[in-house]
Amino acid sequence: MSLPVLDVRGLAYAYPGGHQALFGVDLHVHAGERVALLGPNGAGKTTFALHLNGILTPGRGSVTVSGLPVTGDSLLEVRRRVGIVFQDPDDQLFMTTVHDDVAFGPANLGVRGAELDARVAEALRAVGVEDLAGRAPHHLSFGQRRRVAIATVLAMRPEILVLDEPSSNLDPTSRRELADILRSLDVTVLMVTHDLPYAVELCERSVVLSEGTIVADGPTRAVLADAELMARHRLELPVGFSI
């Protein structure tokens, strides 16, 4: 098989306070895949995601992005390749206008002028919010903010998009529209979520993380159909939903 976009080996991490959040996680994601990372609250999903672009440094093990190790020298390039969309768009959108926020990432990579404007326009178009460019992020609806947050990362032309709970706090229509957008993007996706129907809808493969270790990895439907596994790891399908 080709070089994986994401190659995580034996990743273990303990927070400075001493709490061990990850115990040797292995994960490979290949180009073009859409993978769901499932797990109950406190499983270590966010902690795991923060290792993918070097915000947290592994206690043990390694993370490699398309052959580039995630370490000090390569951090800027790694952060271009791995786009993380955080759970709360208010944390992600920190500039005073949508345009400046989307431009922030590429500008840090040295893109300027017409090329920068083209990137911003392209990213906003990809999530269907071209008309919001001049608005202030805090004046947008939650659904719009979530989309702009994704655009801020797309503008860096990442190889892999990592989304932390993309469907949380969205109404059913925004939730479906976001799914359409994610399906339309030509990028590898790792989606952290508790929203199991969303995983079924969007991801052909699912990985279950529980108490800091990977306990299942396979086709989404097969993983979710294993009732015993799901119950053991506190994952529940919504009432009335069946695979």
Binding site: L50, N53, I55, L76, R79, R80, G83, I84, F86, D88, D90, D91, Q92, F94, M95, T96, T97, H99, D100, A103, F104, G105, A107, N108, L109, L116, A136, P137, H138, H139, T152, V153, M156
Partner: protein
């Protein structure tokens, strides 16, 4: 709750002052205020003309007087101080109707009043025509220290988030029967402000992570640099030039 609730100074419009680039306006404002301050005390006519000029600038913004009045309240302390001066200052006295006032005090009062009013009027003219985001961009263009620009732009961005957080905490308190009055409320309010501080601090940490994730290295990138034509600079410096002329003329 949107930040439509927060008291924004800026009012949309299409006047000349609205159209001038913000960095040009900022330089125009600062140089005008400095020139006005340099007018010697006692040049009552010159100072009167400058107050009129500042008032004309403010009116030229086309913003409804009702809005302007609310924003001009900040000038009140200056007015009160100036009105008190003739009565409290010492120096040669002169009769003012049934009252005796200090004539040095009267001159000083006019000077303080005129300079204070000019400053407030022109600052309000700047504020109602410049969105906060443009002020940040202007400071960045004028090469203000990177840290100042980052802090200001975050204030603009997160002020409403923090105010909303505060409002949510208040609603949560009051929904559980809390009345924010009297001495007994103080410990609760102190705890609430502590909680707000911690929440804001933690948000700051999360925002910092999000910035690092997008390659932040200490300076906000200037993504759409502001430009200005020489004509715009010339226009913006007209009030300062007039004030400077008045200042020089008064000394001759």
């Amino acid at each position: 709750m949107g930040s439509g609730h927060s008291a924004h100074l800026h009012v949309d419009g299409a006047s000349l002052l609205h159209r001038l680039p913000p960095q040009v306006k900022l330089v125009g404002l600062l140089s005008f205020v400095l020139a006005v301050v340099s007018v010697p005390a006692g040049s009552l006519v010159a100072l009167g003309c400058l107050v009129a000029l500042a008032a004309a600038l403010l009116l030229s913004t086309g913003v409804a007087p009702r809005h302007l009045a609310a924003r001009l309240v900040v000038a009140l302390p200056v007015v009160v101080f100036a009105l008190a001066l003739p009565f409290v200052a010492s120096g040669p006295d002169s009769a003012f109707g049934p009252l005796t006032v200090s004539s040095t005090g009267v001159t000083a009062a006019w000077t303080v009043l005129a300079k204070g009013l000019t400053g407030v009027l022109s600052a309000v003219a700047f504020a109602v025509t410049t969105p906060p985001t443009d002020l940040v961009a202007a400071l960045q263009r004028l090469r203000a220290p990177a840290l100042v620009v980052v802090v200001l732009s975050f204030m603009v961005r997160y002020l409403s988030v923090v105010t909303e957080e505060l409002a949510r905490m208040r609603v949560a308190r009051e929904s559980r029967g809390f009345r924010g009055r009297g001495l007994r409320a103080w410990p609760v309010l102190a705890a609430a402000s502590g909680a707000l501080f911690v929440r804001s601090y933690e948000r700051g940490e999360r925002v910092h992570l999000a910035m690092l994730s997008r390659g932040f290295s200490g300076r906000l990138p200037e993504t759409s640099p502001l430009t200005a034509r020489p004509g715009e600079w010339a226009t913006a410096l007209v009030p300062a030039t007039l004030a400077l002329t008045a200042s020089v003329a008064a000394r001759l």
